[in-house]
Amino acid sequence: MNNLWIYTMMLVLTIVWGGFFTALTIAIRREKGKANSE
């Protein structure tokens, strides 16, 4: 139970920060794809 905060932190950060960086990675790839096709 003493380490519960670590698991919660990992869960929250994975969802929120993970969600942001996943979306950012997809957006960067799409933008690069668009630039290459032009």
């Binding site: 919660t8 942001f20 979306a23 997809i26 957006a27």
Partner: protein, 489 residues
């Protein structure tokens, strides 16, 4: 009216829209609400409501603005039908009313940044007295004027040279500053105790319905979802621009910044005194300012034995706070300006009217904390109605058509599934009704005369002010329809 100005790039649009979402609510309100609701126990429902309130409404705003190419009033009329123009009018009015007092808040942050840079902030040890002296004088009016002037000049310069360029600078600088302070705060002695409190879930809090309602409220207030602001910026996105992925970047990006701010504040607060910390951090203080303007300056003054280092960190913190506030204020000014533009005003004339009105109508909140608190209460709760009106507009348009044509169009980078229709049709209305009912009913617990419209924070004052606005909007809706659609069709 033909749309002729657009954000130059996807990154310009995203940074500008992040500027809307990231505001003072991420920094001062989030940490206080986490502390009052059992630390980690709050974070779990807070993450859940990101998915069932904020993200669906951010997607909706992007899609509506991009399709309608009009501010909230015209956009809601175009989506839901012209007879519902008053609903769009209500959304626009709520955000305009928030602009009047948000400019005052922005002024406070600028004042504290100036005080930190000049060293004046550490000239005293009694920070409550310092705040009282500042807030009871005429200085808030001067700094409110400064904030309105900055916002007005940016909007006056237009979308690309003003809003896009300024937000690129403000938001990227804000993130860099927060990351620097994050590293410093994590290196403080005992910072781990703050992290433990911030992330440890306590079962008794997790089972408390109030924690869940506070988590929903925080999502409704600090992501900017349902305010009509993202809708207004989406008017200026290119036709080839994606909706759902951009919305995801804003929702996750906003909450990521809240987490950074939370880690900074809890690490710093707990590094000095965990017993005193909990008493201090949960105190609202006047106009909910206790933590930010009274306790944090005290903490910064004890950060190290070197006063210059302490002043540098205090200056950076208040600069970040001021940047967060200014970027949100710009979007509030733009929303009202865009509404005037839709009615045929030229941008420069419209922004001058909005700037002048914003300054004059914000003065009561700048000089009287009860008026400030009343307006923050009435229009803060009013935002829940704005979110519900947006979901209603989508239902009138046809949820499936909205999802397939407006969200998942050719330009979309990722596709949104049928879960979206379920959330808009059932979860948003249910959440709005529960939240609205809870806030209004619970006001009776702190005010016996809950019906009295002349009290600061109760159901009566909300119902009274909302009714006046709605009656005027409904009475004038035919005139609005004629003026708006004769110009734009």
């Amino acid at each position: 009216m033909k749309q002729n100005e657009f954000f130059t790039s996807r990154w310009g649009l995203i940074l500008a829209t992040l500027g809307i979402a990231v505001g003072t609510g991420n920094i001062w309100r989030f940490s206080r609400i986490v502390a009052q609701n059992g630390g980690g126990s709050f974070l779990i429902p807070w993450v859940i409501f990101l998915f069932v309130w904020s993200l669906p409404l951010i997607i909706a705003e992007f899609a509506i603005g991009k399709y309608a190419r009009l501010g909230p009033m015209g956009a809601i009329a175009k989506i839901a039908g012209k007879k519902f123009i008053w609903m769009g009018g209500f959304i626009a009015f709520v955000s305009t009313a928030i602009m009047f007092y948000y400019s005052v808040v922005t002024g406070w942050t600028i004042r504290y940044f100036v005080a930190a840079v000049s060293g004046d902030l550490f000239s005293t040890t009694d920070h409550l007295a310092y705040w009282n002296t500042f807030s009871s004088g005429l200085q808030p009016v001067f700094f409110h004027l400064t904030a309105m002037l900055i916002g007005t000049i940016v909007v006056y310069r237009g979308i690309v040279k003003g809003i896009e360029k300024t937000n690129k600078f403000l938001v990227s600088t804000l993130v860099i500053i927060l990351l620097i302070i994050l590293v410093r705060s994590l290196l403080l002695p005992n910072a781990i105790e703050g992290l433990k409190y911030f992330f440890t879930p306590q079962m008794e809090y997790l089972l408390d319905y109030k924690v869940w309602l506070n988590a929903l409220t925080q999502n409704a207030w600090d992501t900017g979802a349902g305010w009509g602001l993202i809708l207004t910026y989406a008017v200026y996105m290119k036709k080839s621009e994606d909706v759902p992925l951009n919305a995801a970047l804003i929702g996750f990006g906003n909450n990521s910044i809240s987490l950074i701010a939370g880690i900074i504040i809890f690490s710093t607060v707990f590094s000095f005194s965990s017993v005193d910390a909990m008493n201090q951090i949960t105190q609202s203080g006047p106009a909910n300012t206790g933590l930010t303007f009274i306790y944090l300056p005290m903490l910064f003054s004890h950060l190290s034995s070197n006063v210059t280092v302490n002043l540098i960190f205090a200056s950076m913190f208040f600069l970040a706070l001021a940047f967060a506030a200014i970027s949100s204020l710009i979007s509030l000014i733009e929303l009202t300006t865009k509404t005037f533009i839709d009615f045929g005003f030229d941008r420069k004339k419209a922004v001058l009217i909005v700037g002048t009105l914003g300054f004059l109508l914000g003065i009561p909140s700048a000089i009287n904390v009860d008026i400030f608190t009343n307006q923050d209460w009435v229009w803060g709760v009013g935002l829940i109605i704005s979110g519900a009106f947006m979901a209603f507009a989508i239902m009138k348009f046809g949820i499936e058509k909205f999802r397939t044509d407006l969200i998942n169009g050719n330009s979309s980078d990722i596709k949104v599934g049928k879960w979206y229709s379920f959330i808009i049709k059932y979860l948003i209305p249910v959440q709005a009704v529960i939240l609205l009912g809870w806030w209004l009913i619970s006001s009776a617990s702190w005010d016996n005369e809950w019906w009295n419209p002349f009290h600061t924070e109760n159901a009566g004052t909300c119902l009274f002010q909302w009714s006046i606005v709605l009656i005027v909007l409904i009475a004038l809706s035919n005139r609005f329809k004629k003026l708006l659609f004769e110009r734009n069709e």
